[in-house]
């Protein structure tokens, strides 16, 4: 962390988006996380994604639970709605908020402790219900706030900073999300923003439950040799399936992208995702194959990253429940108290 607020000055030639905002307008308070924390990189990727998508900050709601990861919403999108919930209960709060006002963009920010331990049940049900959200787990495989115990996503055989070896099997949240019916599933790495940024943008544009498991090394307690969530280990074992170019009418940015065949996917809002395949025979629309590929990668000691599964025309919870289209705060007295005639009709219908 630093004690100084970030200086107000910005680059004299700083870019503005369609709303006239610079990426600095998407910042929050100065981070109090450890210097070099992967979570700060994820925050930066979220800010840039919202900037590039021209999202008005006040139309975004960011919700989180407890933990290092769940502190991060304070450090980005300072002009957005925020809710810091009880440990592991972010998915319920988010579901409720989404039901009350479907017009906001929902970012659920959680960690491996918040989602894979105390909140595992909450995680499962929010995904299962298809709540329209981007659910990001900032996964460092360690309890950083309590000084480095193994978390539920620590790999078996991974070594703690003090030398203990983890004997428990890990929970793979990506595998669970696939099994529970998430309609957008991705894994990325905080040290690779060229991959992470487009995934966040695609997740925001996706309607339905979008889940991103983002490996985010804990520089204080889980970045040593023997850890399977360190910068070095993840870089050495990263098996990227694809690269995303996210196109919103603008010309795509084609930087640092290795060659590969292209696959274009149109999202429900008309924007286009262009996938540059790195694993040639991989089809992101095949859930069963995705699960198989994930297990194969795991067995081979690879960390499979990229867009793993996408259902293009997914519905969301509102559609499933056929709820009122307007946000509840937009309903007036006439809508809420339709009168005795309406009540009579209802009673008749139930007779």
């Amino acid at each position: 962390m630093t004690y100084l607020p970030k200086p107000k000055f910005h680059h004299p030639a700083i870019e503005t988006n369609e709303l006239g905002y610079t990426h600095r307008d998407y910042e929050g308070a100065i981070s109090t996380l450890c210097a070099g924390c992967g979570h700060d990189s994820i925050s930066a990727a979220i800010m840039h994604a919202c900037f590039e998508l021209n999202l008005p900050p006040h139309r975004i709601a960011k919700l989180s639970g407890i933990g290092c990861s769940s502190k991060t919403p304070t450090y980005f999108l300072g002009q957005s709605h925020g809710f810091n919930s009880v440990h592991g209960r972010m998915p319920s709060v988010l579901t409720g908020a989404n039901l009350a006002n479907r017009d906001l963009i929902y970012l659920g920010v959680s960690g491996d402790g918040d989602s894979a331990s105390i909140g595992l049940g909450q995680f499962a049900h929010a995904i299962r219900r298809g709540v329209n959200m981007v659910y990001i787990v900032e996964n460092n495989g360690v309890y950083g706030l309590t000084k480095g115990q193994f978390s539920a996503t620590s790999d078996k055989g991974s070594k703690s900073k003090r030398g203990a070896v983890n004997s428990d099997l890990p929970i793979d949240l990506v595998g669970m999300a696939l099994q529970l019916g998430a309609t957008f599933v991705a894994r990325s790495f905080s040290g690779d923003k060229t991959q992470l940024g487009p995934l966040i943008k695609a997740g925001i544009q996706h309607r339905g439950s979008a889940f991103i498991d983002c490996i985010s090394p804990c520089v204080a307690f889980n970045n040593h040799e023997g850890s399977t969530k360190s910068f070095d280990y993840v870089r050495a074992h990263n098996a990227a399936l694809n690269r995303l170019d996210f196109m919103t009418g603008r010309s795509p940015i084609l930087l640092d992208h290795p060659p590969g065949s292209l696959q274009e996917v149109t999202l429900h809002d008309g924007s286009t995702l262009r996938l540059r395949k790195l694993a040639e025979d991989y089809d992101v629309r095949d859930r069963a194959a995705a699960m198989a590929h994930l297990y194969e990668g795991q067995a081979a000691g690879e960390i499979v990253t990229g867009l793993i599964y996408l259902e293009e025309d997914a519905g969301d919870l509102h559609e499933h429940l056929a709820t009122e289209e307007r946000p509840l705060n937009g309903l007036g007295e006439a809508d809420l108290c339709p009168g005795s005639a309406a009540l009579e009709r209802l009673n008749q219908a139930l007779r």
């Binding site: 970030k6 200086p7 992967g38 520089v219």
Partner: protein, 596 residues
């Protein structure tokens, strides 16, 4: 690009824009920090070592540092470097004990300096403590040269000149004032081991147009008039005054006129207002005193009647691009303008004059009548004779004269010790980490967002009544602190050690100016297009690291870096560190002599 060699003194020196731009390479951020800390004595001495005349320059410098200041690129106006220098001079305690003492042992070498202006005094200051016997000659009774004769007292009080010239003369230097050197040949026979010519550009250019001779009584050459005012020979001027010329001398002339009875004073320039040579702040000061500046008017004739000046006739012109793309002034064809006046001051330029140097003693002159002087050693074609200041390459400013003086002193020292005059030692540099604790630095890295503070002025009704009343009151301690806090500490360098970097991106994310990018290497033009923010300013270098683990490199555009140190605060491994860059210029002395 190849990894940047930060051990080359020039690399980080260039990052300190002000110091790089200063001819004397004054360590500006270092003394500004001392001012902020209230240590005015230390701030003064840092200046004194580099530029010899902090109090004088703090009022009169042409400030090449300020247009270079990074603050001007990230905010709007540069730090008021010049006026902060004055603060150090105004509020310092007695610094006599910090000055070098006259040499105890004389080395038996004698050096004559002709002219007691800034160049000669710098040579004398650099050499006297080394044991040289220095004799300074000047036509005037008091030393100081143009600083004393041409700069009006309302800009530079006499006490400041006396003090700072006194520090130099106090080093055991012999000053022979009121003695004009009429023959260099004669001086050459007097046993001096070296002679330094620092006689300035003492002749004001005249304007030879009809009526000049007839109305001569009321037409004055600007610099001569200023020096007569300075010595009290002239204490009034006509009610209506026209000043011809657009340089700083013209500004001094018009403002002096306002104080000597000139009620309607105007400045008239041939070319456009923007093309004037005067510094913008001097134009501002003149206009603040109710002096209009009229442009695109070429003087054609002085009108007179019975030997008395009546006015000046001007032709109206406009600027056009000529056939060769050069800017030319062409008449507009409108009828000429007659402007009545009582006195005219001609300040259209200065020339060098060396009637006292015989042309057959071995000193070559070029076709413009200027001595042939080596640009690095300041040596003339007669090895024992050196030139500096305006006498060497024509009119410039005090700070250039000081820089020339330092270099000439190095040459003279080498000559007198049988060394190679052309030998120059590179400056010595050092980098020292400023880390004090986990997030503590030995400098104030919070960035002030204040805009440039204005220097308080004396009420012009009072100021215009007394030619000796200094107009600028100077910053007080509080304003000086606030202005000093605007300095971005560009000498506290961002130093990157590639082997320590784990490529976590923390520095990229925190940098408020988007200076840092991790990307694949390429040549400079290519890299500049692939950075986090546009990097079009090629005058500012890219700092490129050696290759990192992912085969990328770190590229930092130095252009708009705030030196806030957040990259280093966010770096988990200490790959970034904030290190103070100090540059030690090589002055005359043991270190600069070759053994040969």
């Amino acid at each position: 690009m190849k990894p940047t060699d930060i051990s080359a003194p020039d690399y980080f020196h260039k990052v300190v824009d002000c110091q790089w731009a200063c001819p004397a390479h004054t360590p500006v951020p270092e003394y500004i920090r001392q001012i902020a800390a209230g240590d005015y004595g230390r701030a003064y001495m840092i200046n004194w070592e580099s530029n010899v005349f902090p109090g004088i320059l703090g009022r009169t410098c042409d400030r090449p540092c300020e247009p270079a200041c990074r603050r001007g690129r990230v905010e709007r106006d540069p730090v008021a470097i010049c006026r902060l220098k004055r603060v150090a001079a105004d509020y310092k305690p007695d610094i006599a004990a910090l000055l070098p003492r006259p040499a105890d042992i004389r080395i038996g070498k004698r050096v004559a300096c002709i002219g007691a202006g800034p160049a000669s005094l710098t040579v004398a200051r650099d050499l006297a403590p080394l044991g040289y016997e220095i004799v300074i000659f000047d036509q005037d009774a008091a030393a100081g040269g143009m600083m004393r004769t041409q700069i009006p007292r309302f800009r530079l009080p006499e006490s400041v000149i006396d003090e700072e010239v006194g520090y130099v003369l106090g080093l055991g230097i012999e000053f022979r004032g009121g003695r004009r050197i009429d023959s260099l040949r004669a001086l050459l026979t007097q046993g001096f081991d070296a002679i330094f010519v620092g006689t300035g550009a003492p002749r004001g250019r005249d304007l030879d147009i009809p009526g000049r001779r007839e109305a001569a009584a009321n037409i004055h050459i600007g610099i001569d008039w200023l020096s007569s005012v300075s010595f009290g020979h002239i204490d009034k001027i006509g009610r209506r005054v026209i000043v011809l010329g657009g340089g700083n001398t013209a500004m001094d002339c018009c403002r002096s006129s306002r104080r000597l009875g000139g009620e309607e004073v105007s400045v008239v320039v041939r070319s456009g207002f923007a093309e004037m040579k005067a510094s913008p702040w001097e134009k501002e000061d003149a206009m603040h005193e109710g002096i209009p500046i009229l442009n695109y008017l070429v003087p054609k004739e002085f009108t007179h009647s019975k030997g008395r000046l009546q006015g000046v006739v001007f032709e109206k012109v406009r600027a056009e691009r000529g056939a060769k793309g050069r800017r030319e002034l062409v008449p507009t064809g409108e009828p000429p303008v007659h402007m009545p006046c009582d006195d005219v001051l001609v300040a259209v330029g200065q020339e060098n004059a060396f009637p006292w140097i015989e042309r057959d003693i071995g000193i070559e002159f070029d076709r413009h009548g200027m001595p042939v002087v080596d640009k690095d050693t300041y040596q003339s074609t007669l090895p024992r004779v050196f030139f500096g200041g305006d006498a060497a390459f024509g009119p410039k400013n005090i700070i250039w004269a000081v820089a020339h003086g330092h270099e000439a002193a190095v040459s003279i020292d080498a000559l007198c010790n049988g060394g190679d005059v052309t030998r120059r030692l590179p400056p010595r540099m050092n980098l020292v980490s400023q880390k004090m604790g986990i997030h503590e630095w030995s400098y104030d890295n919070a960035i002030s967002i204040d805009q440039r503070f204005k220097v308080p002025l004396k009420d012009s009704r009072i100021a215009l009544k007394d030619i000796k009343a200094e107009v600028e009151l100077g910053f007080d301690g509080g304003l000086a602190f606030a202005e000093a806090q605007r300095c971005l500490n560009c000498d506290i360098q961002t130093v990157f050690q590639a082997p320590l970097c784990i490529e976590c991106d923390a520095c990229v994310d925190i940098c408020p100016m988007d200076c840092i990018t991790f990307t694949h290497n390429g040549d400079e033009d290519d890299l500049r297009t692939r950075l986090a923010a546009p990097a079009p300013n090629k005058a500012q270098d890219l700092y490129v690291s050696s290759e990192l683990k992912t085969s990328r490199v770190m590229v930092k555009d130095e252009d708009v870096c705030l030196h806030c140190g957040l990259c280093a605060e966010r770096c988990p491994t200490g790959a970034w560190d904030m290190q103070k860059f100090t540059l030690e210029m090589s002055y005359a002395g043991q270190g600069c002599r070759s053994s040969a």
